[in-house]
């Protein structure tokens, strides 16, 4: 979906099936496991995008579901400080300092985290929405909208009606979204992603998989992502050149 996402780095598109033998010019396929309620996922996303902007090639991205805290209620009573204080047994002032630190790191990549406004919630419906959007070629737009809504705007991303509003904001059909979320039409897709993560041994997010071969865990430096993308292309070039060696014509 080039051009459909304002913050989309040049060359990034929704993931499409890769050919079995990619040429050096084929897009690098990147699968990302992440959650919405994951501060490092949004920060890592920005760092990855910065790498793609510098990468001289195309990249296709597909996001996969990972629930960090599936037991979280949809309507948690209290703010993020309350949640962490009760859940972790930490003093509120320590939690506040911790969140301030995270917000500071987010600001360095241009994100305005607002933990005071954040509405802690369960994210399984949001993941279903991402699959709904993926089926319509809009997953990247939806992912960006959900992360920004959660961390920067204090929007609720756990209730069907709120999620439908966010989906409509990027042009998806609101009624279709409500029907899909209320019927759990994409719950099986979420579970498939989670099973795949488990099979891969992924225990933390964000987790980036390049070409099904390289794994990158966490909000790494942009240089790390760029180097990995370049490594994939270099290996493709070497593989493409290799068969010609010693071949008589």
């Amino acid at each position: 979906m080039p051009g459909a996402w304002p913050d989309l780095a040049p060359g990034v598109t929704d993931s499409t099936p890769a050919s079995t033998v990619p040429s050096p010019r084929d897009p690098v396929v990147v699968d990302v496991w992440s959650d919405i309620a994951c501060p490092w996922c949004f920060i890592g996303k920005r760092k990855f995008e910065a790498a793609v902007e510098r990468f001289e090639g195309a990249v296709t991205v597909e996001y996969h579901s990972f629930e960090l805290s599936p037991d979280t209620p949809v309507d948690f009573e209290g703010d993020e400080i309350d949640f962490l204080s009760k859940h972790k047994g930490m003093p509120a002032d320590q939690v506040q300092g911790m969140l301030d630190n995270v917000a500071g790191i987010a600001a360095e990549v241009g994100l305005a985290y607002d933990f005071d406004a954040l509405k802690h919630t369960n994210t399984v419906k949001a993941h279903q929405l991402l699959h709904f959007a993926k089926a319509r070629g809009r997953q990247l737009d939806m992912k960006e909208r959900l992360l920004s809504a959660y961390f920067e705007e204090g929007r609720h991303v756990g209730r069907v009606e709120d999620l439908a509003d966010l989906a409509a904001e990027i042009g998806l059909d609101r009624d279709e979204v409500v029907a899909a979320l209320e019927s759990d039409a994409h719950l099986a897709d979420v579970r498939d992603d989670q099973r795949q993560a488990q099979a891969y041994g992924i225990s933390g997010v964000p987790f980036f998989v390049l070409e099904g071969k390289y794994g990158i865990s966490g909000a790494q430096a942009s240089e790390t992502f760029l180097g990995a993308l370049q490594q994939v292309v270099a290996e493709r070039s070497a593989a493409a050149a290799a068969p010609a060696v010693g071949v008589d014509r």
Partner: protein
């Protein structure tokens, strides 16, 4: 970490695992350490040595 892939990058990069995202007390230290060029792993080790909760 995953054995299915060749892992690239810094093993100590900030990530969420389970419901632990924010690594209390260590986040700031790691960030400050990396900003000053110190390896994140070192910052974490030092934090643990000082008995701080992770």
């Amino acid at each position: 970490m995953s054995a299915a892939f060749t892992m690239l990058g810094d093993a100590d990069a900030l990530a969420c695992e389970g419901d632990s995202c924010l690594l209390p007390a260590v986040v700031a230290d790691v960030h400050a350490a990396t900003a000053s060029g110190q390896a994140p792993a070192r910052a974490v080790v030092e934090a643990l040595d000082e008995g701080r909760q992770i």
